[in-house]
Symmetry: C2
Subunit: 533 residues, 2 copies
């Protein structure tokens, strides 16, 4: 191991995995504290599951199937059973709820934060380990539970400093999508594979635009790298139906009588935007519903889906979360296969200018939906459930872009450095260091082998405001042992200053001065207070 | 998936993995905040590495080799390279430091917390996923760095409420152990395997006692279950040497002139305990060193090991961490193979009485040591390093046992429950709930399908102090809509109270009363304040 001649191991991480520095860790902690506070205000309580589960318990619900073990890191246990790293926090929660069914309150409202793993092809901003922060209500069939999740997502974003108008919570329903599938002849379990291809194509609307999605609905599409992705093979008529219902711009219109959730949806189809309202840009939930009802309102799934969506948006409107914040968007699909009803996506709508001058949109920073079948895999009772998951890293990148003070990289000063001049007196220097710590001042004795200048450079690199120096002159001072306090900020200023400066001598006196050992902590505290001015 | 007739998946975790509830999560967070504060006071800064590393980068340093993949969860990547879940936080730190060598300050002082994984046989209190909280100084060869780690470990325990005298930080050196190995003819790389068996046997002193260890040093030992563990096969003379140097009780004696680190160790051999000092129980670092010097002081490794240990204990003594807190203990081995010099162990020495009336000792709650060869696996420069790792779960169990207020399960009240009586008015109930949240009061609208009594029972199960009720009477009240506030604590008292009680009517009035909707939040806040009295 310490053999100098042995071939060296490469110090590198596998692709898709990254280290986190102090600023990232502190930013994520601050952000998650805010989210936690919102979740708790909504009555959710913390629970956590481990990273490893039986592969069978997690099930196969991932969207990407183009990798040998289908997106999941798996390994075999001693007893030949397959174990997997969790790929999200929802499947483990379903296992948890099923396992502890008897003792848990119902509905069961809980939140959890944690790392999840995807054995996928990594790319820019796409990692194989990333952090999610989820909240779920298990055991509630009411669309009111879905509405609450949407409002809570909006509250989280605002608590984090995202301004109203800079985000939308988009809502759709898998049942609407199922209705459309039925309408184009892709109903039934024999078409499950093709349905998935169609759904994945729609899910890419943001990235590829309507034409790209149309291509994927048809024969397929060649991407920029020249790779060809085979399409769903739909004919022109079917593509037209999908495009008309799911890819078209939001219906023009406006929301009238929004508090009246009992008004039949069909009534609203004829409503035109009032004078002066920009129907082109004002997203209208009830208009979307009205547009859909003519197309799929008569199908079995369609009617109930639309009623659910109507209840969700009505509750949100009544609670003051209007259609600028929570909006029905037909293109929302969500990749995970376990969703059974409403699906949600939190999207940031603002743009920032990147380092290369190009605009950056952060897009989706979280999503979720209803997964009524997930707990039923374990138990015979039907257990409806709905939840939401925030992508912590992407949201943090966005918060940094809008300079949210919550995740700002606070320039925390480094510790006070106690310089070591005489290696025989380590115990003395340690005592000085301990005195500072005893006064609550972060401090360290220099532990390397370098000389004074290198030690001061080290202090600089740590972002320290102050160094403490004791040589034999100080130790043997006439009136008892002393220490020299060096203000590193003023020291740097002094180095740049002209000696002709009127206050040069005063500056030099303030930048470095001697005090009795007993006054060490008080003098250092004064220097640190200066640095915070 | 939702097929009712399909065989159900078993809702269970693989052995050695556990879920964490709200109290555990909050306790661990509170505990880690205290540890973090101590680490930062010592000038350490946060850094984190991912859970997955190249298997080769982690190396094979685990003590338990009795499992097929040697204690580590491993899987093959797409490109055939082997990846592993980290088994500790030290090996990944070595990779991190080597990878970012140029830009990191040296010495590099950092801390990190995180879950680690061992593919070992789980048992009581022995998990396959557990949390560690580490601090490391990389790039410092000085024993002062080791001394500091020991003092910091002591400070952590005291910051967490462990009283002085209830813990010791035990120190030993792998080089002392190497010296003993040499003395019994087990030097050289050809004896590496047998050395490991001997070290593991010594490491079990706490658990098996001296006789059990002697058996493992010889032919072997049958445990309570009847399983036979093969021993190291040492002869009686070698066993005697090991037992005399490493398993004997601490040398009687006392520490004199402790501030004088330059005094030769050998001088101290003749010092006897002063009158009135209980030499039997007072552990004496310099006495131990004196005992060792006669045996291994002449070997190459022995002399430098003893000089290092002397410097460590001298610095600790000078900083006020006497031999009751930081003590040389020859039986400390530490399982991980990468240690090269001083090794440490934080041990809780108090006993508590378990639920079964039997005494419980928590023993080791953390450990560490110097690992000078770990970074050198990646780079040609020598990079000395030392660190310490706290076992979060075990320490938390111990803190609970001594009722440390830091991890006490604070009985946090559940959210206010807004009862749903009329399912057509969900939007109204949601509005009431939003009003409470707007006032900073954790609240939820009941989302299940049950009636009033079941909803109040649910509130009880959540530990709620207050429920809010609105039926048609309240909604249509003459002076405008009202809500009924129910104080669940007083409600329970009322249910138990006799109607003859003098203040019965007053109690009933306080336990449930109506207010105007506009006064909802203020009235609920009053009820919650009562509950905190």
């Amino acid at each position: 191991m310490s053999d100098e001649t042995a071939a060296k191991v490469r110090a590198a991480l596998p692709r898709g995995f990254v280290d986190r520095g102090a600023a990232d860790i502190a930013g994520a902690e601050a952000m998650m504290a805010k989210i936690r506070a919102v979740y708790e205000l909504y009555g959710f309580e913390a629970v956590e599951t481990p990273f490893v589960e039986y592969t069978e318990a997690l099930g196969k619900f991932l969207p990407d199937l183009d990798r040998p073990n289908e997106g999941v890191f798996s390994f075999q246990d001693d007893d030949e059973q397959w174990l997997s790293l969790r790929y999200d926090l929802t499947a483990p929660l379903a296992r948890y709820f099923a396992e502890h069914y008897e003792r848990l309150p119902k509905p069961y409202r809980s939140y959890r934060t944690g790392w999840v793993f995807r054995n996928e092809k990594p790319g820019p901003g796409r990692f194989r380990q990333f952090m999610q922060f989820d909240a779920d209500t298990v055991g509630a069939a009411s669309p009111a539970a879905d509405a609450e999740i949407c409002m809570m997502a909006a509250d989280c974003l605002e608590a984090l400093g995202v301004k109203r108008g800079d985000y939308v919570i988009k809502v759709n329903s898998r049942k609407v999508l199922d209705g459309v599938m039925e309408a184009i002849g892709l109903g039934g379990s024999e078409n499950a594979g093709r349905r998935l291809i169609v759904l994945r194509a729609i899910d890419k609307l943001d990235r590829l635009g309507p034409e790209g999605v149309r291509a994927l609905l048809g024969v397929g599409r060649k991407d920029e790298s020249g790779d060809f992705t085979k399409g769903a093979g739909l004919g022109p008529d079917a593509i037209h139906i999908v495009a008309n219902l799911l890819l078209r711009p939001q219906v023009k219109g406006y929301s009238r009588n929004l508090g009246d959730s009992k008004r039949p949806i069909a009534d609203m189809a004829a409503v035109s935007p009032p004078p002066g309202v920009d129907g082109e840009t004002w997203l209208d939930n009830f208009g979307t519903l009205a547009h859909w009802i003519s197309a799929i309102g008569a199908t079995a799934g369609g009617a109930s889906a639309l009623a659910e969506l109507q209840e969700i948006v009505s509750i949100c409107e009544a609670a003051g979360y209007g259609s600028k914040r929570i909006v029905i968007d037909p293109s929302v699909v969500r990749g995970l296969e376990y969703y059974t009803g409403p699906v949600f996506e939190a999207e940031l709508t603002f743009e920032v200018t990147g380092d290369d001058g190009k605009p950056i949109r952060f897009g989706s920073v979280g999503g979720g939906g209803r997964y009524d079948g997930l707990v039923a895999r374990f138990r015979s009772e039907p257990v409806p459930a709905t939840g939401f998951s925030i992508g912590v890293s992407r949201l943090m990148a966005a918060l940094r872009a809008i300079k949210s003070p919550i995740v700002a990289e606070a320039a925390r000063p480094g510790p006070v450095i106690v310089v070591v001049l005489d290696r025989d007196r380590m115990a003395d220097y340690q005592r000085l260091t301990a005195a500072l710590r005893g006064a609550g001042i972060a401090a360290e004795m220099y532990l390397g082998a370098a000389g004074l200048n290198a030690q001061l450079k080290y202090a600089d690199r740590r972002g320290s405001l102050c160094a403490v120096i004791q040589g034999s002159n100080e130790r043997d001072a006439a009136g008892g042992p002393q220490v020299v306090i060096r203000d590193l900020t003023l020291g740097a200023e002094l180095a740049r200053a002209s000696k002709d400066r009127a206050d040069y001598l005063e500056l030099r006196q303030k930048a470095q001065f001697a005090v009795a050992e007993a006054e060490l902590a008080a003098a250092v505290a004064q220097v640190l207070a200066r640095g915070r001015d």
